[in-house]
Amino acid sequence: MSDAKGAGSNGSGNGRFLNPTPMLDELESGPWPSFVTGLKELAERTKKPMLRGVMDQLEYSYQTRMGYWKGGLVTVKGYGAGIITRYSMIRDKLPEASEFHTMRIQAPPGLHYKTDTLRELCDIWEKHGTGLIALHGQTGDIMLQGIEADKVQECFDELNQNGWDLGGAGAGMRTGVSCAGPARCEQACYDTLEMHEKVMKHFVGAVHRPEWNYKFKLKFSGCPNDCTNSIMRSDIAVIGMWKDSIQMDADEVDAWVEKNGMEKLVNEVVNLCPTRAISLKDGGIEIDNGNCVHCMHCLNVMPKALSPGKERGVALLMGGKSTLKVGFNAGSMIVPFKKMESEEDIEEFIDLADEIIDWWDDNGLDHERLGETIERVGMKQFLDGVGLEPSIDMVTKPRDNPYFKTKY
């Protein structure tokens, strides 16, 4: 299958712009919206050769079961990151997609858009690039996919004039992600959108000019449901938390029981509390808040009757990352509670994050994420290094081996 069918020819044949892509075409059937159909229609309408080239190359990948992009270095003035550069390894065979760079654009926190804004973005992108956009990348960027190197700067300038900025790549701060939070969720314990915006504005230089050991990610989830998967995917996961008692509306509890029955109350609320902090009382429930671990379950089942407490803020979990080298690493609890109501609270978080990043950048190895550095160097050393107090909240149990150095 070394010869991609029709590849390299110029859309001759069935009178259409695109070359035949028989394997890809098989992804046009079925009920789920097809990216192939989208791509084909876009190409047929715009007649952009790069799109035809990309389709040909993708078809060739499907046939040969191999990828054919390689990296490179493209950037915009003053920046060192934000463009993911792609050159084709088979450009002699399929020259139309010899370049296919992606511009990572920082989306609005919470991913809310006015249609005007989106249309504007589409227009700029169609002007300079292919018109293919991923909404959104796993790190939360808008990914404008498919542009040539010599069009990147002008495209960026026009985007930037419209309020857009590039996102992260390389060994620096990465684009943030925040959940819907207070915009559309009753569980939010802090303003995820505001915090995301403020914090990422602080780190904007580190996003654009990466110069650390490796990447660093922040994600903002309004509560422990963690709708941004922050625990597994961010070096610092900012997760909403409350410190006082769950707010209970007794009438709404009664109404819930009325509607759903006692059996469901026991089976789906009482029995599923991980620490058995909930007991039946007077036909309703009683919560032993000292034993509640803030898992969210009861609040999820009875959102009308139960809400997070009034003393709200964030918990910080650190060290989450993907598989590379050490296997998936979930972030772990470092700061169990921190108020997050004012500008100053955000400032304090930023100071702490700066401190942590400094420590990590000093103590980490090349290509080593925060969690790996903590694991290698030791949690105690990390806490000492960044000036945090150790607490039992950080571990599931005290150590089970005697292999530690003492101070006394």
Binding site: E26, L27, G30, P31, W32, P33, F35, L42, L58, S61, Y62, R65, G67, W69, Q106, A107, G110, H112, Y113, K114, T115, L118, C122, I133, A134, L135, H136, Q138, E154, F156, N160, T175, P182, E186, E197, K201, D226, C227, T228, N229, M232, R233, I239, C273, P274, H294, C295, M296, N300, V301, P303, K304, S322, L324, V326, G327, F328, A330, D366, H367
Partner: protein
């Protein structure tokens, strides 16, 4: 690259300002929501302290969208949702409206445009997406294709709400796992060491960096045909592909020997049980474009068993935890094998250090 006559001075603005995109009802009730309900699959109803109500209609997208597709979404939003829309952290599109009457027409409009409505509550969310052959420089497969093929088969799950709890599925086009963790994950698993391109290695790669990237110290410097290069200790190498990320001359991808593995029981939320890592339950599946049918079979076996056996609110991993892994393999028809016994750094902590056993 930048043209000399450039006059614009970059504003390092960071994230696009979020306030502009908030629907007026959202703005008015910001931080004041009281509860939500699921009027029907694909629709959320949020109620605020003020009594304001907000309906959300959720639709699936291919994520790799064309501007035409996006403009279409904007048309829908303009007609039915006051000119606002949002995307979820999982590539779904959401239309927000306070008007209950608009909900059904909105749904009809979306479905008529080929955008399935669903993905809320106890259901299958669309599969988290990565770049694959379309764009990445290290993929062993295509993410968009796998996702499209699978979602075609799981569409009823997306449209219904009859699973024990949410089902989050992810795909990854290489072992780096940009897609994160899920209840079910479909991930490339290489089965041979990288082939080294000694011709260009020293020219395009920093040798010490490549050596340092290997988690099991399998890579050593060497000289081949008078050129500096690297050699792999094949005894040690376990085909992770980490070196390939650092150096394209460490060719790990292979049409035959880059297989698929299926993982289950990952969990990110803190609801009830703690977040949990995924476990390997099937591997050696062929990388079979364009529709990867072998993968779908396994995923559906798992989903069927979970849907049947899980109790309300039990995530997939919680169901397994309750019935035990032995039962999981029995109910799904999958086979446990020796490769599923951990032998990496913390292997010992996964051994059954007890006499607890089911027969």
């Amino acid at each position: 690259m930048s043209s000399p006559e450039r006059t614009w001075k970059t504003i390092e603005s960071g994230p696009y300002p979020y306030k502009e995109g908030l629907h007026p009802v959202v703005k008015r009730n910001y931080g004041k929501w009281v509860y939500h309900e699921y009027p029907r699959p694909g629709v959320l109803k949020h109620v605020a302290e003020s009594g304001d109500v907000l309906y959300t209609v959720r639709g699936g997208t291919p994520r790799q969208d064309s501007v035409d597709f996006i403009r279409g979404l904007c048309d829908v939003a303009d007609t039915y949702a006051d000119g606002y829309l949002r995307f979820t952290t999982r590539n779904n599109v959401e239309f927000l409206t306070p008007d209950e009457e608009k909900v059904q027409p909105l749904i009809d409009e979306l479905e008529s445009r080929g955008i399935p409505v669903g993905g809320t509550g106890k259901t299958i969310s669309p599969i988290a997406h990565t770049q694959g052959w379309l764009h990445c420089d290290i993929p062993a497969t295509d993410a968009s294709g796998v996702v499209k093929a699978l979602m075609d088969e799981l569409i009823d799950g997306f449209r219904g709400m009859d699973f024990p709890n949410k089902v989050k599925i992810v795909t990854q086009c290489c072992e780096l796992n940009c897609g994160g963790q899920g209840d079910i994950a479909i991930i490339v698993k290489h089965t041979r060491p990288p082939r080294i391109n000694h011709e260009n290695l020293s020219e395009i790669c920093e040798l010490p960096k490549v050596v340092a990237r290997c988690p099991v110290a399998a890579i050593r410097p060497t000289v081949v045909n008078g050129k500096k290069s690297l050699v792999i200790d094949e005894e040690k190498c376990m085909y992770c592909g980490a070196c390939f990320g650092a150096c394209p001359s460490m060719e790990i991808n292979h049409p035959e020997y880059s297989k698929f593995a299926v993982w289950v029981a990952g969990k990110n939320s803190n609801a009830r049980s703690k977040p949990a890592l995924m476990s390997l339950v099937a591997h050696g599946l062929p990388n079979n474009p364009p529709r990867w049918p072998e993968v779908s079979v396994v995923v559906k076996q798992i989903l069927d068993a979970y849907r049947k056996g899980g109790r309300p609110w039990e995530r997939l991993g919680e169901w397994v935890e309750r019935i035990g892994w032995k039962q999981f393999f029995e109910e799904t028809g999958l086979t446990f094998d020796e490769d599923m016994i951990d032998n990496y750094r913390h292997a010992r902590t996964t051994f059954n250090q007890s006499a607890h056993v089911r027969f």
